[in-house]
Subunit: 443 residues, 2 copies
């Protein structure tokens, strides 16, 4: 009987457990999770802060019943001996140590919120948005907080800024790079988002970092570009870093991105050890270069591959396009593949086509703007990126673009899809088709 151990029980760990259990129903699967509870949904936290999810406890779920899977919570993996195939663990309640032996091990240790070295970041009233505990701490402050400052203009930062604004706070959002959502959107598309934030009363400062978080015990202001802005609640949403301590101390190779290096079977360089999810380094489908994904969706796919392979099956992970969607103040913002800057950094030429149209026929009341930007590699006409800002339907359209990019399609193919049409839902000429033709006219 094979014994599979899994360290970490979020998207990757849970999917790995389920997939391993399905692949080898006779295997014994042991999950080691540091948290006192099994599953939680980190992407729900901004919406619990905003109140759309009325009870943050709802983000916590018990482990689903899976045959032959034992989930140990409040248990920390403290050391790994990959040669001997043993993990040292500590039960956090009893402080007892014990050893878990395995035939195959899956590291799904996830990531931790990156706190940049800003003076004052340890002050009271400064929070990350990564764990349920972070979320609870922020919610606890909502009643007395008046001025929120969000450091970081990625999707979690934007969602949290909108949440705080929705709770009645004055909010300033600070993004060090020249525009918001820099990993998802080109500056022109990001401008639509900034506009919507400002229309809803969020002050947006781009291109300047936070110099200092100021306060005695508690934060009272932040310093940005020579200005001191009052703030009694500061959110640090400057991204996450792969949690690789266990792997690193065990001598497992890390990649250039800082994630655990794996092959397409999610195998590390230690025999019998796999890694999946935020802690693992994957690769970009377009550039074929090492990349971190750190999205739940990719973690699930990686976890599935690791689980199947650890259980003796055969599956490969095909890389990431970092397909992502975020939403705030009635905008749905989605993106896949490379932005213009990311393409440039990778040495890939790109031509862009951007169109702004309505999501319904002009004669049908209630049509709302949808802006689509496509990036195409001009020699082969291959689609390499897609960005959509709309009121609705951005996510599903970007999923289509992700499929097209993954399959190496050329932009001509997008203009020939058999799209559907009914006036209350969509126009007879699909915006993706209009965007494709706009790129084609440029080429």
């Amino acid at each position: 009987m094979k014994h599979i151990a899994i360290v970490g029980f979020e998207s990757a760990g849970m999917t790995a457990a389920a997939s391993a259990s399905m692949t080898d129903p006779a295997a014994k699967i042991t999950v080691i999770e540091r948290r006192p509870y099994a599953i939680y949904h980190p992407c729900g936290i901004p919406f619990a802060i905003g109140g759309e999810v009325p009870d943050i406890q709802k983000l916590i779920e018990p482990a689903p019943p899976m045959p032959n899977v034992e989930v140990h919570t409040a248990m920390e993996a403290t050391a790994l001996d990959a040669k001997a195939r043993k993990v040292e663990v500590q039960e956090l309640k009893t402080k007892k140590h014990r050893t878990v032996e395995y035939d195959a091990l899956i590291l799904a240790t996830g990531s931790y919120a990156f706190k940049p070295p800003i003076p004052g970041i340890a002050l009271q009233g400064v929070h990350a948005v990564k764990t349920v505990e972070d979320g609870k701490a922020i919610i606890d402050e909502l009643s007395r907080a008046k001025r929120g400052a969000v450091i970081g203009g990625g999707s979690i930062g934007l969602e949290t800024a909108a949440a705080l604004r929705g709770r009645g706070l004055e909010v300033v959002l600070v993004e060090e790079l020249p525009s918001v959502l820099p990993n998802m959107l080109d500056p022109d598309m990001a401008g639509l988002v900034t506009e919507r934030l400002r229309e809803n009363g969020v002050e947006v400062i781009c291109g300047q970092g936070v110099r200092e978080i100021i306060g005695k015990k508690r934060v009272s202001s932040i310093s940005v570009g020579g200005r001191e802005l009052p703030a009694d609640l500061v959110i640090v949403a400057t991204g996450v870093k792969p949690e690789v301590k266990l792997a690193e101390e065990a001598g497992i190779e890390l990649g250039e991105t800082g994630g655990i290096k794996v092959d397409e079977h999610m195998r590390t360089d230690a025999e019998g050890v796999y890694a999946a999810g935020d802690c693992a380094e994957t690769f970009c489908i377009i550039t074929e270069r090492p990349a971190l994904s750190q999205l739940s969706t990719a973690a699930i796919q990686m976890g599935k591959v690791a689980g199947i392979n650890a259980a003796g099956g055969e599956e490969t992970f095909e890389g990431t396009l970092n397909t992502a969607v975020t939403t705030m103040f009635g905008l749905e913002i989605a993106s896949t593949g490379l932005t213009t800057n990311a393409a440039k950094r990778a040495g890939i030429d790109s031509i862009a086509g951007r169109v702004r149209t309505l999501d319904k026929p002009r004669y049908y009341p209630g049509g709302r703007p949808i802006t689509v930007k496509l990036l195409v590699e001009p020699k082969e006409h291959r689609l390499i990126g897609g960005q959509i800002v709309a009121s609705d339907g951005a996510a599903e359209r970007v999923n289509l673009l992700a499929l097209a990019i993954k399959k190496g399609m050329i932009v001509e193919e997008l203009s020939r899809i058999d799209y559907c049409y009914v006036p209350p839902v969509c126009d007879v000429i699909e915006p993706l088709m209009v965007a494709a033709e706009s790129v084609l006219r440029k080429m």
Copy 2:
């Protein structure tokens, strides 16, 4: 200077004119349209009846300005001499005849509402839903009508039934086949639609045809399955037939579906004569058998190909999947490719996977059911059909499935798309992925 004549100015004719004009800016393009106005939007008519489009006149638009395109309305093409490359036309106002000579001709004559040979179909109060005049006639009757009967459970029938119900009429919908939307949905999926219709007070009768429309001058009832149902407004939505009189009388070959036979360049068997849109026979991408599409979306694609080729360019039409969407009472219903019955008729084996899930994570309030059914050919695992019934997002998802089917993808590829996720918009595991895995488990 090349002279291109186009007969008909709906989706196919208009796109043909625009594409021909772009392909050969020096060409002279003459459009001959029988209607007294240029463009109209037939798919908007049910929503004008329902009042969502408040003014049915908004469905009529002037021809957009296109260089070198002359659009003649109220002009009928009465005869075609394909050998001599001449069309006889009549100006309907002046009754004057004249001859239009052409180098290339595009037949975009569209389709007409098929009225089945039911006794009483010519009674007052019985209407098709094809032209703006049909729509106006129906709207004129709304103030006195109390009981509507809709014959035909296709998308136009359903949309019109919902429109009449929304206007306060009692409504019965009669579909001769065993379930509604028979060209789009399998009976199990159609059941979800019937349920929604009934919940909203529409009586649905399937598997029985209308025997007779009863009345003296005006309709007073219909006879279905031995029952006489009172009705003072009857809608005949039993589909459309290709309008091929001009082609047929000119000796141009028709296909087995009754549409004008064309090759992939949209060329008929008469030199220099192309056909596009509802009047033309195309082929199914999956079965490669002749098929009628009769959707605006396909007409646009066909018109584009015909226009480019007629102007000396080179483009091919790649066939149809009949990707379609309809909406009523808050449901969005979309479909692409083959239904189980259509696959059976074509001699193609299929395995189905159907899943019902929520369109948001369980912890996020307001999630609504989404049901996805995928049909897969079991030997090669090729996707051959997709059906979705949801509150939202069915259209965009079905567009993705249409792309996958067109590119010959296997169902495994659907379970590996780089999907996006954010709680207010969609769940971390995309319903298409759940459906793909449900099929895979069966195989």
